[in-house]
Symmetry: C2
Subunit: 383 residues, 2 copies
């Protein structure tokens, strides 16, 4: 018998983390690698956490989260996304990673197919493989990183169990156009497949076209929404996310969640009450404005340097083609860090097909970004 779970032989350490670690060998590296927001967690959230500690609110909560936490997150979803779910239709878990892993485990059986529009966040495929299922990639590059219903349709087979929609997208920053989203929703409602909407970047938007998939009543039965406070509220280390789904679906997800992690941190859950605080929203507005400024600035500089750089609609990444410079993304990223100590991620970390891309995170302070862009400009001028 094999010593380890045979599905693990297909899974490696994330290329993002691998390359990030590779970059640690160089001195004084400017890292534009990880999706780690620059800002501190908003003060009201931190104050609530201190309050929890002072009042010994540190014991187990119910598996799905304390009632007050679930109520808070539901109110937050209603307020910001117009998405209404009941107290029995939410689990507050250990970041999007955990509730996504639990959701996939809850719905997949060996041999099922999961459709993933690409390029895609590198954490999806390993979870599909871990469940002994197959990823069907839908390339969106030729549609400007927009998934269309027409393109999706071609990839659906009798084995398709679900599609993962990331809007806005990591790594491209693209958010679906109004028409594409409506057509996708209309088409998906005619299928029986689950729709996992990863909406983790939907507070970092530079478009008015955004709409949560949770606002389409016709999708409700098949929809699983995952989200977190990590990116929007600069809370990556807190490990707090949530999943919304109809009762029948969430009850199955809850079984996996319960036995695989018990519950999310009680201190963190208590602190979440502060996400409804106006001061927290003020901090968010400041962060998003800063990301937008950085994005516009970086696009200008990189376009001038010779990149084909269109402003994305959300998130805090630029996904750049290196084709103009005649080298692939991996060589580009390696030489860039070796020669200029600026670290970005080779684009094929988000799909094997994307060898001619790199991803750059611009959620850093302006002087850091300016210096990094100066070095990138110098680097490409010599190619």
């Amino acid at each position: 018998m094999p010593l380890f779970n045979k599905n693990l032989s297909k899974i490696q350490t994330s290329k993002i983390r691998q390359f990030d670690t590779y970059c640690n060998q160089f001195k004084d590296v400017i890292k534009l690698t990880l999706g780690q927001p620059l800002f501190p967690t908003p003060a009201p959230v931190k104050e609530k956490a201190v309050e929890a500690l002072r009042n010994n609110i540190t014991t187990y909560t119910p598996n799905r989260g304390a009632q007050v936490t679930r109520e808070t997150v539901l109110r937050y979803c209603k307020q910001h996304f117009g998405v209404g779910y009941d107290l029995e239709e939410i689990i507050v878990g250990v970041g999007t990673t955990e509730v996504l892993a639990a959701s996939l485990c809850a719905i997949l059986n060996e041999g099922d197919e999961v459709i993933i529009p690409a390029p895609a966040y590198s954490g999806y495929e390993p979870l599909v493989l871990l469940n002994n299922c197959t990823v069907k990639t839908v390339d969106t590059a030729s549609d400007g990183f927009q998934l269309t219903a027409e393109n999706l349709k071609k990839h659906i087979t009798p084995k398709t169990k679900c599609v993962i929609l990331t809007d806005p997208s990591n790594p491209t920053g693209a958010s679906l156009s109004r028409d594409n989203r409506n057509e996708l929703a209309a088409f998906l409602a005619t299928t029986g497949i689950f729709v996992i909407a990863d909406e983790v970047y939907n507070r970092i938007l530079y478009t008015n076209d955004y709409r949560s998939f949770g606002t389409y009543p016709e999708l409700r039965k098949q929809l699983i929404i995952v989200n977190s406070f990590s990116k929007s509220h600069s809370m990556t280390g807190w490990r707090l996310g949530w999943v919304l789904a109809g009762k029948e679906v969430i009850n199955e997800i809850a079984k996996v969640h319960q036995y695989c992690v018990t519950a999310a941190s009680t201190i963190g859950q208590y602190a979440l009450q502060a996400v409804l605080d106006p001061q927290t929203e003020k901090a968010l507005a400041h962060m998003t404005a800063s990301y937008r400024d950085n994005m516009e600035y970086a696009c200008r500089v990189l376009t001038h340097a010779g990149f084909d750089c269109k402003p994305p609609q959300g998130a805090f990444y630029l996904y750049l083609s290196t084709a103009n410079f005649g080298i692939d993304g991996d060589t580009f990223a390696r030489r860039l860090v070796q020669e200029t100590s600026v670290a970005i991620i080779p684009g094929d970390a988000f799909g094997d097909a994307y060898k001619d891309y790199v991803r750059l995170s611009y959620c850093v302070d302006r002087p850091t970004l300016t210096e990094a862009l100066r070095r990138i400009t110098g680097f490409v001028s010599k190619l």
Copy 2:
């Protein structure tokens, strides 16, 4: 195709949580149901968490935990259990639940058998079922809840992939005798199976016979140790645990951990530095002394009331036979809460065979315990 993961159809919500929820309908219930320590988290740990918040130490750590956290936990293991592992042989994760789930997922393939001495913690079996594997139960009741090598041997088949050893045990509080442990280690070393040692109660001991399985060099290659600060340090809501294993094994566990939860809370990880603080150890000594007092007191009272109640060697539970009173554990627990508002757990939550048992948690304050025992005594006197 089935709508959900077919393995989930075999898994239900924990009977412990189910019965605990059932008890919520009664007024002013004294709960001796959950393993939720009475005491607050030691002050130095809470202070370190506040320090993390004040200093914005709230961003992602490496997947396996921050280096300082891993170093701290390794030092703690060396100091208290004489168990030495390297920095590359530990993952600090989201409680024992998560690192156990990741460990089982890492080593199991469909159809494998997992041996679980019973009665057992009710969280193990669902994880085995989730991996489409089979639980082989080894009854220990006839040996006074001691697993013997002889008994274990009879249950090993060519399909056996691992055994889970819980020492001290939840729900019985039994810790292995020196001879039994040595014989088990010697026998297990002759097999190729993985040994998962769940040592989550190994700071709450009333015996000098205890020894971690991590101190047997001959087991090292096949050993996976899981542990947490939840019970020992009254940190259940912090969700912090760890797993120790040889490099080859831990690398596979790390893949599951990375993709299923990313990492443990950064604030919590930072706070763990305080587990080496003498003030923290002083708090622990006080807690353990209190548990021992409660245990001895409860055993005296319950023996007097007609129970066959032998003092256990660790943890903070009593696993009591209701046979002397001619009713099964489920009826006993239901009538007890209905008639006296004292909540304990039916014994079959820890194995279907244990219909004539109940589990009582005595990690409550003394007046609460006294009142609960007074009511239990009154209840059984009328049976």
